[in-house]
């Protein structure tokens, strides 16, 4: 249950953080002028520290973005920060070239062809299983769920060799199907764990009422569980989407040359980092734009999924 306890305060955190200073001011005992000055300086120092840290966190990404807007010649001659004095360096040529590069464009579509199905499949399979684990009675239910909890931490590496062999004999090694299925298989424990905990929190009365009305089990699942479990399903969808979108290792092993996603396509350019900086910087930036958009649009669900997955 702890996962929800952890997730819950995160959601309510931003409002409470905003109200805290006011509450502090009212509740604090009257302070002397000297104490207040010390407090001001302290808080000024803290703000300064935060700004410095914030800059440290922003600069690397900014550097990648600016580097992606400079010609390879400029990038090898000087640092990205020189654009602030010579803005004429900025150019969209790298992006134009990247988008006219057939193999990179193909890898972009591969990323989508891998990410979307594996996210959909995992959400469907995991919600069915989570419902059974939360609300259907059968022998060994608790043990099965504990097994799922234990599987949360199983390292992906253990499956690489066996599944590569299996795919070889099934003839799907190097195919998109193989990559998608691997992501489903490896992502399931987390998905079931997240959804089961959330589904178990749905009030029993609601389910009993639906069952009493003669609802068949699939109807109860569709009418009661899925709508009420919406937030958790949203978290899972976003989390799984990002996880698969950002994956490199699975693609490295199971994707072929014409089925590789962006991450693998870019990785193959790393060997000549300096020479390929135009492709790498613009490609890496393109590959992180969509995750960032998803992150900004669904921040709360993302955070919720992440906190629920603590100790994965």
């Amino acid at each position: 249950m702890s996962t929800r306890e952890e997730a819950a305060p995160v959601q309510s955190h931003s409002p409470s953080a905003k109200t805290t200073p006011a509450a502090m001011g009212e509740g604090a005992p009257p302070r002397s002028v000297a104490a207040r000055i010390v407090g001001r300086i302290g808080s000024g120092l803290m703000q300064f520290a935060l700004i410095v840290i914030g800059v440290f966190w922003l600069v690397p990404t900014l550097g990648l973005f600016i580097a992606s807007l400079r010609s390879p010649a400029d990038n090898s001659a000087s640092g990205w920060w020189t654009v602030f004095t010579q803005p004429s360096q900025l150019t969209l040529r790298n992006y134009a070239q990247l988008l006219s590069n057939d193999s990179f464009v193909a890898s972009f579509w591969n990323t989508i062809a891998i990410t979307v199905p594996s996210t959909v499949i995992i959400v469907v399979i995991a919600s069915l299983a989570a419902y059974a684990l939360a609300w259907l009675e059968f022998p060994g239910r608790d043990w099965l769920f504990l097994a799922v909890v234990a599987m949360l931490v199983v390292p992906l590496q253990i499956a690489l060799i066996p599944i590569a062999r299996l795919y070889g004999s099934l003839g799907i090694f190097g195919s998109i199907t193989g990559v998608v299925l691997f992501h489903v298989g490896y992502g399931l424990p987390f998905a079931i764990f997240l959804l089961r905990n959330f589904f178990a929190a749905i009030p029993r009365d609601l389910l009993e009422a639906a069952r009493m009305d003669g609802g068949r089990e699939f109807t109860v699942f569709r009418r009661v569980i899925l709508p009420l479990g919406g937030p958790a399903i949203a978290s899972l969808t976003i989390f799984q989407f990002l996880w698969v979108w950002n994956d490199l290792l699975v693609a490295l092993v199971f994707a072929g040359a014409d089925t590789q996603p962006m991450t693998k396509a870019l990785q193959s350019q790393m060997r000549q980092f300096g020479a390929n900086i135009d492709v790498l910087a613009s490609g890496a930036f393109l590959s992180l734009v969509i995750p960032l958009l998803v992150f900004f649009a669904f921040q709360r669900y993302f955070v919720q999924g992440l906190t629920a997955g603590a100790v994965k």
């Binding site: 952890e6 953080a17 690397p60 259907l136 253990i158 299925l181 691997f182 092993v253 890496a284 100790v311």
Partner: protein, 452 residues
């Protein structure tokens, strides 16, 4: 959220408390029906979790090609082979250092932002890297860690800071004119071969190897200083005239002085006086005691400019990648700790403050102990992730130092897919990784059972 939460807790405890009453009147389908819901998941978990574990254990007992049974030989080799040993050592460093650093950073950030008005903006900035792939983060940090301070921002900052406090050498390329009594010392200084005493005539220190445009803007034509009775004076100049009309060791009319050179008077191997040359290259030691001195141009005049740190060299590559890891994961720790922080009862903190505790004492004695369960969860979670760290090391470490930056998950990939083609060893490494997470698995399962 809060409402469903309490409801859930009641719910989970009720059936356990009164099983018979609940079970007898329960509605719902027969037990076999659950199988319909579970079947797809069971097929996947069987194929991708259970089968791989069993097969890997079995496969790890066979040789590279899988034709010969070798028993535990792969495991023995794992601990004796130098390259896996480096991976093992680095993994230990990673597992100890990275979770600690990230958890501490998360704690500090969460506490700092707790009472800030624009905390949300800060949190978004720090949390953002969590959404980015390790590949993109890797490319980002390859750029940050570029060796050349003109390109890599880390070294650009370092050299700027360094040069602010320790001005860089003015003339790294300068060297003495040969054959006029100047010698290069082993420590890099340039000294007059003959010792001099106060009152001797002006000294000539001709230098070459500096281009005209490398001279500081204030440099003026070199002049011969007056000799002084008590002191030692001289001139350091660029003994070079364009067109080859200049004479060696003589100050010609157009030759420029070298300003800012540090000149030292040395006696008994000890620097007793130190001055800088003027714009026209002249210098004067006044008030020296009687005796003979060696006059030299300090080595610092000629040292290469500070080039920053070789981040991605064999020694620093692991700490450098851990730095990148901190950049990615600090937001995760911060958000979890902040969530824990907001659930600490305000009264506990206020009570301590009213009792006269300083902010530090409140933090140390109240906040941290109350947060320790959350900190433990964050730490263990990070440990599990760090144990199987692969992408960041694979991307950031250049090919030439990948062996020095090696970690178990990377070695596992290299051995079995990245050219090694030894699936026996690869399986053994994978099984070893699994064994390493077993304590975390137990922690996880026990925590879960306790809380339910």
């Amino acid at each position: 959220m809060a409402n469903t939460d309490t409801a859930a807790q009641q719910d989970v405890t009720t059936p356990a408390g009164t099983p018979t009453a609940q079970r007898a009147g329960r509605l719902g389908p027969p037990a076999w029906f659950a199988l319909v819901f579970l079947l797809p998941a069971l097929v996947f978990l069987g194929a991708y979790m259970v089968y791989p574990i069993l097969f890997s254990v079995y496969r790890s007992l066979w040789d590279a090609s899988g034709t010969e049974f070798v028993g535990l030989a792969n495991y023995v080799e794992m601990f004796t082979d130098p390259s896996t040993f480096v991976a093992l050592r680095n993994n230990v460093i990673w597992v100890v250092v990275a979770p600690t650093v990230v958890t501490v950073a998360g704690l500090v950030f969460a506490v700092l932002t707790e009472r800030m008005r624009w905390a949300t903006a800060f949190k978004i900035v720090v949390f953002m890297p969590m959404a980015i792939s390790f590949l993109a983060s890797g490319v980002i940090f390859r750029l940050v860690y570029e060796q050349d301070p003109d390109r890599g921002v880390a070294n650009a900052v370092l050299t700027t800071v360094h040069d602010t406090f320790v001005p860089s050498a003015a003339f790294p390329t300068a060297r003495p004119r040969e054959g006029v009594g100047l010698t290069e010392e082993p420590n890099g200084a340039v000294a007059l071969s003959e010792q001099v005493s106060p009152g001797d005539g002006p000294l000539l220190l001709p230098m070459v190897g500096v281009a005209d445009d490398e001279l500081p803007a204030g440099a003026t034509t070199a002049e011969l200083p007056q000799s002084t009775a008590q002191g030692i004076s001289g001139v350091v100049w660029l003994d070079f005239t364009r067109g080859g009309t200049g004479r060696n060791g003589v100050i010609d009319t157009t030759e420029s002085g070298m300003p800012g050179m540090r000149v030292q008077a040395v006696r008994d191997d000890e620097v007793v006086a130190s001055v800088r040359t003027d714009d026209n290259g002249t210098f004067t030691f006044a008030g020296l005691q009687e005796g003979s001195y060696t006059v030299q141009l300090a080595a610092a005049n000629f040292t290469e400019p500070y080039q920053g740190v070789t981040w991605l060299g064999p020694t620093l590559v692991t700490p450098a990648i851990i730095g990148a890891y901190l950049w990615v994961w600090a937001g995760f720790a911060m958000v979890l700790v902040a969530a824990g922080l907001s659930s600490i009862p305000r009264e506990a903190l206020e009570a301590a403050r009213v009792d006269g505790a300083t902010e530090w004492q409140v933090f140390r004695r109240v906040t941290v102990p109350l947060l320790s369960p959350v900190l433990l969860v964050v730490f263990v979670t990070l440990m599990i992730y760090v144990l199987k760290i692969f992408d960041l090391v694979f991307i950031i470490a250049p090919g030439s130092v990948q062996a020095d930056a090696n970690v178990l998950a990377l070695e596992m990939w290299r051995v079995s897919f990245g050219g090694g083609n030894d699936q026996g060893m690869g399986s053994a490494l994978a099984v070893f990784l699994l064994v390493l997470v077993v304590p975390a698995m137990i922690f996880q399962v026990r925590r879960f059972r306790r809380e339910n």
